[in-house]
């Protein structure tokens, strides 16, 4: 039996490494994707293109607007003199935010009445708009506070010194500088392993079926299990190799810290690759052609990535979607990746994730192997 498995493995490895193109395919795409993702994926918003319109043109109004000019979040590009220009600029997409201060602003403030800052936001991109509104409110809130403090200081300094207030002492852990690469890069490792292992495994079996070489293998004394092992072991190894490769790119190129132990990451990666082998095999049992395999693979991959919490937090999804995410093995692997890279966690915290992946891979492999026997007959 071992001899036959070895024969099968040699055949598979030859097929995988046969020419330059297919060798490149194993390692090129993951590295390219890693680099593009690492640079392109960020939800951070800075330098929001902004137009300002100051009809009051007083010292306080200029003070308020200068806070926007000084902020890294806003890029004040144009000072307008006519409010009709705002519509034009926003329609063309030249600015996202327009701030307008009407005449009488300074007077309102002086009289102790509430003054108004008009904010117009292009919300066709809701992410940018949400963040822009948040930043404007923060700046306006701070302006309010400062103004109030000064006013009290002028009228009744004693009261000002005793005024109760709370300040938030913020302590961001694990990613102190709030760097988005630190967040995305470990996640990309999970995505890449998922896409690679599922599609390679699914294609390998279906290809034999499609071009008719499966019959040839079936007439050899190779057993079903040997065939499956021969088909999966190479991709298991390639998966592990790719995981190492992209992890190295993540730490060496992008400078993401690696705070945990390699052992824990390896356990997680092995369990996750087993899950993906199970999925890949399953897809190969339901696909007759490589086109079908590819499309079914996509059918699994895309939701798996979206609902894993890769880019958007699970806690913001609708409730029933949140329940579905528990069926997503990538969800657990991302916990492991981010836990090991950024938080330096060990098995004592990550064991539930490991157990979930273990159960998933076991169930998936059993189903796939069972279906596989049938689909070969």
């Amino acid at each position: 039996m071992l001899g036959r498995i070895r024969g099968m493995l040699i055949k598979e490895f030859i097929q995988v490494f046969r020419d330059k193109r297919s060798r490149f395919l194993l390692f090129g795409p993951p590295v390219i994707q890693m680099i593009v993702f690492g640079y392109a994926a960020t939800l951070e918003i800075r330098h929001i293109p902004t137009a300002v319109l100051d009809f009051d043109n007083s010292q306080v109004s200029r003070d308020l607007l200068s806070r926007f000019t000084a902020s890294p979040y806003f890029d004040v590009r144009t000072r307008l003199s006519d409010h009709r220009q705002i519509g034009d600029l926003i329609d063309r997409g030249a600015v996202t935010v327009a701030l307008q201060i009407n005449a009488g602003f300074a007077q309102d403030l002086r009289k102790g009445q509430t003054a108004h800052l008009q904010l117009i936001v292009d919300s066709s991109n809701s992410n940018t708009a949400l963040i822009a509104v948040g930043y404007v409110n923060q700046i306006a809130g701070r302006f309010s506070q400062d103004y109030q403090r000064e006013r009290l200081l002028a009228t009744s300094p004693l009261i000002q010194s005793q005024l109760p207030s709370i300040v938030l002492d913020r302590r961001p852990w694990f990613n102190t500088d709030l760097d988005s690469q630190w967040f995305f890069v470990p996640g990309v490792i999970g995505n890449l392993i998922l896409v690679m292992v599922v599609s390679l495994t699914a294609f390998a079996v279906v290809r034999e079926r499609e071009i008719g070489t499966l019959e040839q293998i079936m007439v050899t004394p190779i057993g079903r299990l040997e065939f499956i092992l021969g088909k999966t072991v190479p991709f298991f190894l390639i998966g592990l190799f790719d995981a190492t490769l992209v992890s190295l790119v993540g730490t060496l190129w992008f400078g993401v810290p690696f705070r945990g132990s390699i052992g824990v990451l390896a356990v997680g990666a092995i369990l996750f690759i087993l899950c993906m082998l199970g999925i890949g095999l399953f897809i190969s049992t339901i696909s007759m052609t490589q086109q079908q395999a590819m499309v079914s693979g996509f059918f699994f991959n895309m939701p798996a990535i979206i609902f894993s919490g890769f880019g958007n937090p699970i806690s913001s999804m609708p409730d029933f979607m949140q329940w579905l995410t528990y069926l997503d093995p990538l969800r657990y692997f991302l916990d492991v990746l981010r836990g090991v890279f950024l938080k330096g966690l060990g098995l004592e915290v990550l064991w539930p994730q490991m157990a979930a992946m273990g159960v998933f891979s076991l169930v998936m492999l059993i189903i796939s192997v069972a279906r596989f026997r049938k689909s070969l007959d």
């Binding site: 297919s22 395919l25 795409p29 593009v36 640079y39 392109a40 960020t42 939800l43 951070e44 918003i45 926003i90 329609d91 063309r92 997409g93 509430t114 800052l117 008009q118 117009i120 919300s123 066709s124 991109n125 809701s126 992410n127 940018t128 708009a129 949400l130 923060q138 306006a140 302006f143 109030q148 005793q162 109760p164 207030s165 709370i166 938030l168 913020r170 852990w173 694990f174 990613n175 102190t176 630190w182 967040f183 896409v195 599609s199 499609e210 071009i211 339901i286 696909s287 490589q290 079908q292 590819m294 499309v295 939701p303 880019g311 958007n312 806690s315 609708p318 979607m321 938080k343 915290v349």
Partner: protein
């Protein structure tokens, strides 16, 4: 180009597609799946951030303060704990993303006046969520400050204090800042890229791999006829999927459509020509279906997903990547489709983007006709 030969190729391709029922079903199911997955899974409006609180004082006032967190829709106070280790464990395990710690002499300090510091421990693994948590908790603190200050001033015989400044926010094009309005129109572009990448990219590679290319070459069909014949069926599928997506966007997700249908379909047609030609070129070059699928993923799907501004804003990327995005046709299409849906922009303002798409369409069709030679290797 001879019409009867072209018709024959189209017929052959249609028969081949319709025989492969699963793939055909999937081309219909795909837009549904992607729409649902992206529409529900990708949300920018972060809500219900899980919070743990550790109230070291446990006074009426500290409880009062914490109620403000409970009342906010942005936070979900999951648990109250009574020691640091549990808090740290929860942050490690991801059970909470934010932990609020109230100091021992909270109410006393507030009474004596001056600022009291409240700790906010933030799991900053997800930098975006951390940013949002910070700005929402700042807002909670500011509101609470205003309340206690007004109260305090009143008790000290000062007039009730009005907030000096408020922001009047007007959001254009997407008043409720719905993520779906931003995401869902973009899914149309993703669907087209998928069709180009995953379906077209295999058409020629399949003929090579199955050995039917020899038969095709021996017929009098010209490269141009072959290309057009191969692409026409996928073009039709692509248009149907587009209509399906638009229908779902408008009726299921309630995304407003303010533009003109003619502009919508014109841009869709151009972009479809672009992705189909790209898929075809990949297919000709790759020869094996596995290679074709992997290359197409990198050439069409990934840029449409990552570098088009679909989720990640282009103006936040490093300058080099920003320059690269100008070479990505999906970037122009993404702008057009969002503007047409949400802003109702008409042709004059979209001229640049439409022109860019048209240039890509011409270049790529020329490339596609040149790529294929009627030669055996």
């Amino acid at each position: 180009m001879r019409w009867h030969r072209l018709a024959a190729i189209v017929r052959k391709e249609v028969i081949q597609i319709s025989r492969d029922l699963p793939s055909l079903l999937i081309t219909v199911a795909m837009p549904l799946l992607l729409m649902l997955a992206f529409g529900y899974g990708v949300r920018f409006d972060i809500q219900h951030i899980p919070v743990y609180v550790y109230d070291r004082e446990g006074s009426q006032q500290s409880q009062e303060f914490l109620k403000h967190f409970q009342a906010s829709q942005y936070f979900n106070v999951v648990k109250t704990v009574d020691n640091y280790p549990t808090l740290i464990q929860a942050l490690d395990a991801g059970a909470c993303r934010l932990a609020i710690v109230i100091p021992v002499n909270f109410s006393e300090q507030l009474k004596t006046g001056g600022p009291v510091s409240v700790q906010a421990l933030i799991d900053a693994t997800d930098n975006n969520m951390a940013n949002v948590s910070i700005s929402y908790s700042e807002a909670v603190v500011q509101n609470y400050n205003r309340e206690i200050q007004i109260d305090w001033l009143r008790r000290h015989g000062q007039a009730g204090l009005q907030p000096p400044l408020t922001v009047d926010t007007r959001t254009w094009f997407n008043e409720d800042l719905e993520s779906t309005a931003t995401i869902v129109p973009g899914v149309v572009a993703i669907i087209m890229a998928v069709i180009g990448a995953f379906l077209t990219s295999l058409t020629i590679a399949r003929e090579w791999e199955r050995g039917t290319m020899e038969q095709l070459i021996s017929t009098p069909v010209t490269p141009l006829e072959l290309m057009v014949g191969k692409l026409v069926p996928y073009f039709v599928i692509g248009l149907l999927d587009t209509a399906l997506c638009a229908g779902m966007a408008i009726w299921w997700f309630q995304v407003p459509f303010h533009g003109q249908w003619s502009v919508f379909f014109l841009s869709c047609t151009l972009f479809l020509i672009v992705v189909l030609s790209m898929g075809y070129v990949v297919s000709v070059v790759a020869k094996s279906q596995l290679a074709a699928s992997q290359t197409a993923l990198i050439a069409t799907f990934l840029p449409a997903f990552l570098l088009s501004g679909f989720i990640y804003p282009i103006d936040q990327m490093p300058v080099v990547i920003q320059l690269i995005t100008h070479l990505i046709p999906a970037r122009y299409f993404m702008t057009i489709i969002r503007d047409v849906f949400l802003k109702g922009t008409s042709i004059p303002l979209l001229l640049n983007d439409l022109l860019a798409l048209a240039i890509f369409a011409i270049l790529l069709t020329v490339l596609a006709t040149r790529a294929f030679h009627k030669k055996l290797s």
